[in-house]
């Protein structure tokens, strides 16, 4: 019992009840059922590893292209800023409605994406 000796009658009664548990005998088919699953696992083909060697050059190329594109875009933007006079864009009244709706749809999509990512992370943490 280690050093968990108690004198409280309530605790002693708890010990008596919780320590004296009738052992449960596994059902007759339990062993066979476990071994069946083990055999299934053994014959199942191993998961195909991700082909990093093949994918890596492509991924590096894609990142480089995106980076270069971003850099060019930023450079063009800075150049345009210096030439274009700073005036507010003129938006016609007819365009305001559709633009507002597009904004709401984009916002809703962003919230959905955020909640999906959050729920996946929570499930991963709990599981």
């Amino acid at each position: 019992m280690n050093d968990e000796r108690r004198t409280n009658p309530g605790d002693m009664e708890l010990d008596r009840i919780l320590a004296a548990e009738e052992p449960l005998i596994p059902s007759s088919g339990f062993l066979a059922s476990v071994m069946e699953r083990v055999h299934e696992e053994a014959v199942a083909p191993a998961p195909i590893p991700f082909p990093w060697k093949r994918a890596l050059p492509g991924m590096v190329f894609a990142v480089a292209v995106l980076g270069w594109g971003g850099f060019e875009l930023a450079r063009a933007g800075v150049a345009a800023m210096t030439t274009v006079p700073l005036t507010l864009p003129q938006i016609s009244a007819a365009m305001i409605g559709p633009l507002q709706q597009t904004g709401w749809v984009a916002g809703a999509l962003a919230v959905s994406l955020a909640s999906w990512i959050l729920s996946r992370r929570m499930v991963g943490r709990l599981g």
């Binding site: 309530g10 002693m12 008596r16 339990f30 059922s33």
Partner: protein, 199 residues
């Protein structure tokens, strides 16, 4: 050679065979540990079919992770820790009871029934009430009594310091005592009955 020593050697031999590619050698491991693993799961959920499902899942995880056993502790210690992890994760996702401890039923009055039956019913109620404890207190209780009241073994299975396990056990007992104040009286009655039998 003691039974535990023999079992340990058999485990080692079977693990080596499995790692060498002999799938059938795993049967020896399941045969030796099916009882303890099913009983441990039973204490976690008190549902026979679920206990067997959980124990099966623990064996499958052990099968997959056998190569990760570093042999620093005994095979059974590693297996129990792995099983506890499986049971804990599953019970977090699908809790056994939603009844709070304060709503756990009272044992029926012993005077109205045969004493042995009443004692049995009362014990069952207390065992089920353990499931209504918050998980952080429930698991130390489950594993402490599963390991025949060995705090060190329970702490190792939970991968927690012994002091933490002792503190949680103490808190769990306090919660159970508060819920079942008649335990003291039952203990006194039990001792009285034993003295009567001896006399």
């Amino acid at each position: 050679m003691t039974a535990a020593g023999k079992s340990e050697r058999e485990d080692l031999a079977d693990v080596d065979l499995v790692l060498a590619g002999d799938v059938r050698a795993f049967e020896g491991i399941v045969r030796r540990w099916q009882g303890p693993l099913v009983n441990m799961a039973w204490r976690y959920c008190r549902d026979r079919s679920r206990a067997e499902e959980l124990a099966q899942e623990a064996f499958i995880r052990a099968w997959r992770g056998l190569a990760q056993w570093r042999r620093e502790s005994s095979f059974s210690t590693w297996l129990f820790a792995l099983a506890a992890n499986v049971y804990r994760s599953d019970l977090k996702r699908f809790p056994t009871v939603d009844v709070p401890l304060k709503d756990a039923p009272e044992p029926s009055h012993p005077a109205r029934q045969h004493h042995a039956l009443a004692a049995q019913a009362s014990s069952d109620v207390v065992r089920r009430a353990v499931l209504a404890l918050p998980l952080r207190y429930r698991e130390p209780v489950v594993l402490f009594y599963f390991h025949e009241m060995d705090v060190a073994a329970a702490a190792y299975t939970m991968k927690l310091p012994e002091g933490t396990v002792k503190a949680r056990l103490s808190r769990a007992r306090a919660l159970l005592r508060r819920r079942f104040p008649q335990l003291e009286a039952e203990h006194a009655a039990m001792q009285f009955a034993e003295k009567e039998v001896e006399g």
